[in-house]
């Protein structure tokens, strides 16, 4: 356009021309109007009927032009629907490549329309649904154009939105960087595709495309296959890699296995393991090792697969002289990969890491212990819980051993939880879990003499130790469950069994638990309900109906509540499939079942951010008559939104100011759950006022939530962490603070320093897959409102923040890498020194003595800690590894002292295995001249390392120290039944081979 200067001042002339009879004049008018419509649309709009009639005139040759003009006018008038329908009439005159607001807006509208039509058609399962072919053509033109222009991301987004998988495939295959494109595609399919089945279709397509690529990214393929639940595919890929001549391929296979394990999908891993073909070098052997495996496929409970592997592995190892060396290599590799897939390797390495890097601060516990009143049993057991959480997975039970007298004050249920706490501390100690707990376990018959509370607790503890890896212990727990009539023991056994058999959907176990449920005992029934849910997690089995029916039948509120949660667990991650059940529960008369319905919503839509679920939850949060339901509805938001953490504080901010304390409590925990471990600033700002709420239980919830958010956040990155620690200390020491918030503060300090300060709460794995154990753990944990022992379920959600590099032998070689950030940003919190505030409340004379004693103790502790790795007894082959540990320690100790003198370095060298907190991951760099190169560039978790100089001798670190250190404390905690432990050891299955057992 030459500008306004050469323009007519009115379109009147052209409009008048439209009424001429001669078609050439009409055409002239139309084409000129079309050119000037941007300026004259107000004038033209009055004549739209004339143009419309031209469009409708069958004899007029230029109908599309008329349609285009009308469309543009309607666009300017804001009538997008009319505009779109005329634009479609314009056919090819509607140029998708034109760069104008009109075209952009209408295209967006067209795509929206098309997508919604297609979605509706797909959801109604009505293939023949009619979509305007012109609309389809337009959208296709747009898609083609995007693909031709190289705007693949746009094309992919549109194709997914419009359910045009054919176009999606085209876009991916034609893009120049297929891997990046696919990753993008995966991201959006997870974050934007709400319907589960459709997401499956997309992923299936992706896998297909993947496999066609010349250099497939096996890591991603396997992740997709896992989501699709196709163990055959994974097994065949693994086999291919393992059979490869190249060592890197085997490393890659190991890496895949570790990544799969991280997602904690027990049933899937089991399937993959069983489908991996055995080496066929020796006919006799293959027969031998082949036979037990089909058995284990059918009934996982009868044959413990660990045993199978071990025999399998040892036999192959023994046969290195077999004629075919290739088969021998394969056999060796397959043994390793089975070990990895069983989760043993990662659990064992995690355990070793947590043990060797344990930095928990006993002084905090000591302060808590001293300030808690003797008679206050709530705070007393809270302290026990805190100890367990602080040392979760580290196997360090020093505190318990040092305070036996104090511990013995726990009676009844407190005793139950004290014993169960051992399970949390020894979590993952699969090999010796049972011998550790032996002194407390029921002794088959009346001979044991232990209190039922500690026996029940011990069974629960076994479950916690073997959570999600319970093949070996399941049978024992079942036997214990069947052989007792004491409801406390049944309670413990049910919980333990549920944890150990998490998600296995084992019918025999289910029936055992169901029998307990039908005894209609409140205590046992509650645990049975939860346990059934744990067993059936995510199966959406019809058992839920059975449970619901019983929930209606029974009189006990506890049982109903247990069942309600159990039912909710069964629909874990099923999204729309769960809608009927959710509807049924949320409409129930009984508030407890509605409350279960909230959990069902939370778990079915966990991490999806599904708008429908959020809307429903918000509705219940403000409209239900029961406070419990409202609280849970708000809390459930935390689960639905955890994949999109930034949203949660925004959505619940209004609710956190509710007049109803239950809603405030729910809001606090929702933020705690979804923002756990992120240290998100908005989350902290939202929780801060709640920690000084007027209602005690809101304070409790807020303190716990705050601890969850701030876990592993250092004071250097957010100063509010330090303030929060001081606040906790103040609450604990304040005599006039009420019990509820005191308990919250005690638990909060435990969570803040959980797992020896080396774990965080993570609900998503690195591949954005939800960690089923973690989510379930938090869901059950949030039940502690009704039942304190459930607090221990939080330990399921802990995942170590570690970088653990492994070589081909799955050993940890010494390897250095760089953290390109100030060390203070991510360092451990400094150990607390003598509490100064205690002096204020005590008498002057007492001040001196206690503080002096505390000081002495503190310095001794300090010494102990630096010496710990060395003095903790047998560390057989770790000569060099130890020295590295020591280096690190001295660095840690030195740095605060040196800080005044010299400026802080801007980077830090970390040694494998190292603590890498989530926020630190982006600063991790691998040194270029390093001997080892990671197979995939991940900054945390288990990473396989490629050895560039395989001929040099390797230096290994992180050997099996905890097994030796922890072998005896089991017996010494209460000192009773020390003889029984030996007995129990005898019953143990043969000790696992990779351990070097030093008594």
């Amino acid at each position: 356009m030459a500008g306004a200067a050469t323009m007519v001042s009115s379109a009147g002339g052209l409009l008048a021309m439209l009424n001429e009879t001669h078609p050439a004049l009409k055409l002239h008018a139309l084409s000129n109007l079309n050119a000037f419509v941007d300026y004259f649309w107000p004038e033209i709009s009055t004549s739209v009927p004339i143009i419309e009639s031209l469009y409708e005139d069958e004899e007029f040759d230029h109908r599309p032009l008329a349609a285009l003009l009308v469309s543009k006018v309607f666009y300017y008038l804001g009538e997008l629907n009319d505009s779109l329908s005329y634009a479609l009439g314009a056919g090819h005159l509607f140029d998708v490549s034109e760069d104008s607001d009109y075209v952009h807006t209408l295209l967006a509208k067209a795509i929206d329309e098309y997508a919604s039509l297609n979605t509706k058609a797909a959801e109604a399962h009505n293939e023949s649904a009619t979509v305007d072919p012109r609309l389809e053509a337009t959208v296709e033109r747009m898609l083609d154009k995007c693909i031709v222009d190289g705007k693949y991301q746009q094309a992919i987004g549109m194709a997914i939105e419009c359910r045009r998988l054919d176009k999606l495939e085209e876009a991916i295959t034609r893009s120049d960087n297929a891997h990046a494109t696919i990753n993008y595609c995966i991201d959006i399919s997870h974050s934007f595709v709400n319907r589960r089945e459709y997401r499956r279709e997309v992923l299936q397509l992706l896998v297909k495309v993947y496999q066609q690529l010349p250099s497939p990214d096996y890591l991603s393929i396997c992740q997709r296959l896992m989501f699709l639940d196709e163990p055959e595919g994974v097994a065949s890929i693994l086999e291919k890699l393992l059979r490869s001549e190249i060592k890197e391929d085997a490393l890659l296979a190991f890496q895949i296995a570790f990544d799969l394990v991280e997602n904690e999908h027990q049933a899937f891993l089991l399937n993959v393991r069983n489908r991996l073909p055995s080496p066929k070098s020796l006919p006799s052997e293959s027969v031998h090792s082949g036979s037990p495996e089909p058995g284990s496929v059918q009934s996982e409970n009868t044959t413990t697969t660990e045993d199978v592997q071990m025999t399998n592995g040892s036999q192959v190892d023994g046969n290195t002289s077999s004629p075919d060396p290739r088969e021998a290599i394969y056999a060796e590799r397959i043994t390793k990969i089975r070990g990895i897939l069983s989760g043993e390797n990662s659990i064992q390495l995690t355990l070793q890491f947590l043990y060797s890097h344990n930095k928990s601060d006993l002084l905090i516990l000591k302060t808590i212990k001293q300030s808690v009143e003797m008679r206050n049993s709530v705070c007393h057991s809270a302290t026990i819980y805190t100890n367990a959480i602080m040392h979760a997975g580290t196997t360090v039970d020093t505190f318990l051993r040092e305070n036996l007298d104090w511990l013995s004050r726990a009676t009844n249920w407190a005793k139950f939880s004290a014993t169960a706490g051992l399970g949390v501390i020894h979590r993952g100690h699969l090999k010796q879990g049972r011998s550790l707990m032996a002194p407390y376990l029921p002794q088959g018959g009346a001979g044991g003499g232990g209190s039922p509370y500690s026996e029940g607790g011990a069974l629960y503890a076994l479950g916690l130790i073997h959570a999600n890896h319970g093949e070996g212990i399941k049978q024992f727990l079942r036997d214990s469950l069947r052989s007792t009539n004491v409801e406390v023991i049944q309670h413990g056994a049910c919980l333990g069994l549920g944890l150990a058999a998490l998600g296995t959907a084992d019918n025999d176990v289910f029936d055992d638990i169901k029998n307990v449920l039908y005894t209609d005992s409140a205590v046992a029934g509650e645990a049975a309900g939860i346990s059934m849910g744990l067993l059936m997690v995510g199966t959406a089995s019809e058992k839920a109906g059975e449970m619901l029916a019983y929930a209606h039948e029974t009189q006990h509120e506890k049982i109903i509540r247990g069942l309600a949660l159990g039912i909710a667990l069964t629909v874990y991650g099923r999204e729309e499939e769960a809608d009927t059940l959710i509807e049924q529960m949320t409409r129930d008369q009984d508030p407890i079942l509605r409350y279960g319905g909230m959990y069902a919503l939370a778990l079915a839509y966990q991490g999806t951010g599904n708008n429908k679920a959020i809307r429903q939850l918000l509705h219940f949060a403000v409209s239900d008559v029961s406070d419990d339901v409202r609280r849970t509805a708000v809390l459930a938001l935390g689960f639905v939104l955890y994949a999109d953490q930034e949203q949660t504080p925004r959505i619940v901010s209004l609710l956190s100011e509710s007049y109803n304390p239950h809603v405030r409590y729910g809001a606090a925990l929702a933020v705690g759950i979804s923002c756990a471990g992120t240290g998100l600033s908005e989350a902290i700002s939202l929780l801060e006022p709640l920690t000084s709420d007027v209602v005690d239980f809101v304070r409790q919830g807020a303190l716990i939530a705050m601890a969850m958010v701030m876990i592993q956040i250092s004071e250097a990155s957010d100063s509010r962490v330090g303030a929060f620690r001081r606040q906790l200390e103040k609450i604990i020491l304040d005599k006039h603070e009420d019990t509820m918030s005191k308990m919250g503060a005690i638990l909060a300090s435990g969570i803040l320093d959980a797992g020896g300060r080396n774990v965080t709460i993570k609900l998503l794995s690195k591949t954005k897959h939800d960690k089923i154990t973690a989510v379930v753990g938090l869901a059950v944990f949030s039940q502690f409102w009704y039942w304190y022992p459930l607090i221990y379920f939080i330990s399921l959600s802990f995942s170590p923040t570690a970088f653990i590099g492994l070589n081909y032998d799955l050993k940890v070689p010494s390897f250095e890498f760089l953290s390109h950030a100030k060390p203070s940003l991510f360092e451990y919190p400094k150990p607390t020194t003598v509490p100064t505030t205690t002096s204020a409340v005590k008498l002057p004379t007492a001040v001196l003595s206690t503080s002096a004693r505390a000081k002495a103790r503190a310095s001794k502790k300090e010494q102990d800690k630096t010496n710990a790795p060395k003095s903790s007894g047998a560390e057989p082959s770790a000569g060099k590894g130890k020295s590295i540990d020591k280096d690190e320690d001295s660095m840690q100790v030195d740095s605060p002292a040196d800080k005044k003198a010299e400026p802080e370095p801007s980077y830090e060298i970390l040694t494998n295995p190292a603590r890498v907190v989530p926020a630190q991951e982006k600063f991790i760099k691998f040194l270029e001249e390093s001997r080892y190169v990671p197979v995939k560039s991940a900054a945390s978790g288990f990473v396989l390392l490629k050895d560039l100089r395989p001929n040099e001798p390797e230096v290994l670190t992180l050997t099996d120290a905890p097994s030796s250190a922890a072998s005896n404390p089991g017996g010494s905690v209460t000192g009773q039944q020390s003889s029984a432990s030996a007995m129990a050891v005898d019953e143990e299955p043969a000790p696992p081979q990779p351990f070097e057992f030093t008594p």
Binding site: T6, M7, V8, S9, S10, A11, G12, G13, L14, L15, A16, M17, N19, E20, T21, H22, A24, L25, H28, N32, A35, F36, A621, V622, S623, L654, L655, E657, S658, Y659, N660, V663
Partner: protein, 266 residues
């Protein structure tokens, strides 16, 4: 000289000849042909490309359209008049170096008159506002303005009397039409103002010379009027619809739902 231009000029000559001959059918045919050819000129509105012959072409095009306006008056086609006038208008408003036409004011006045006849007073004033103040002095336009003023005042006799003072012979046709417009206006007013009028009064009022004309007029335009006992009875305009009922039930429901929602607000 551009062959196309020459062609158009020749056709236009033919048109003018036919116009003088009052051979309007030929005129119509030629005019359409001319208009189609004109669309091929880039220098004409709305493109205004500055081609070498731009001024000549525009002058010619304006001439053609002016003739088209006169033609449509002659054949008494008001729609065509309107069309042609609007197509002509850009040549007056966006001159682009064009010399003012001698026919400009008569045609503008003609348009005003047309609007007056069609009783489109709002558009009449819009057009008026667009005219420069100097144009208002022109007798053709002044004539239209005066007519409008008389019309508005209700001085209908002055309107009818103005027929004798037309500034341009082409206006005569419109003055006839205007008389009818005036009559309609009066009829409309009478209807509202009176229940009935004697035929005599009605005849005077509606400016008819004979009772037959009156009766014929009533039959054609106002069949709902009744002539009875020497009187014309006007049917009263329909009573305006009664006041709408207050939607009380709906209001109550709404208020109640607000109250419910308010209670739910956290």
């Amino acid at each position: 000289m551009d062959p196309k231009f020459t062609e158009v000029s020749q056709v236009f000559q033919l048109f003018k000849a036919a116009f003088v001959r009052k051979d309007f059918d030929t005129c119509m045919k030629l005019l359409t042909q001319l208009k189609v050819t004109l669309t091929e000129f880039k220098s004409l509105p709305p493109l205004f490309e500055e081609t070498p012959n731009a001024i000549q072409e525009r002058t010619l095009a304006r001439d053609i359209y002016e003739h088209a306006v006169f033609l449509s008056v002659k054949i008494e086609d008001q729609d065509a008049l309107e069309r042609d006038f609007f197509q002509l208008k850009p040549y007056y408003t966006d001159t682009h170096g064009l010399q003012p036409s001698t026919q400009e004011h008569p045609i503008l006045g003609l348009n005003l008159l047309r609007l007056l006849v069609q009783n489109r007073i709002a558009e009449f004033h819009t057009e008026l506002e667009l005219l420069p103040s100097s144009a208002l002095e022109n007798p053709c336009i002044k004539h239209a303005i005066e007519l409008e003023q008389s019309f508005m005042e209700g001085a209908y006799n002055r309107v009818l009397g103005a027929r004798q003072t037309v500034p341009h012979e082409i206006y005569v046709h419109f003055m006839d039409l205007l008389a009818k417009t005036v009559r309609d206006e009066i009829a409309g007013c009478s209807e509202k103002a009176y229940d009935s009028l004697s035929i005599n009064d009605a005849r005077q009022m509606l400016l008819f010379s004979s009772d037959q004309d009156l009766v014929k007029y009533i039959e054609e335009e106002h069949p709902e009027w009744e002539i009875r006992k020497g009187f014309v009875f006007f049917q009263r305009a329909k009573e305006s619809a009664p006041c709408k009922e207050i939607p009380s039930l709906q209001l109550i429901n709404q208020t109640l739902s607000y109250a419910r929602e308010l209670e739910r607000i956290v």
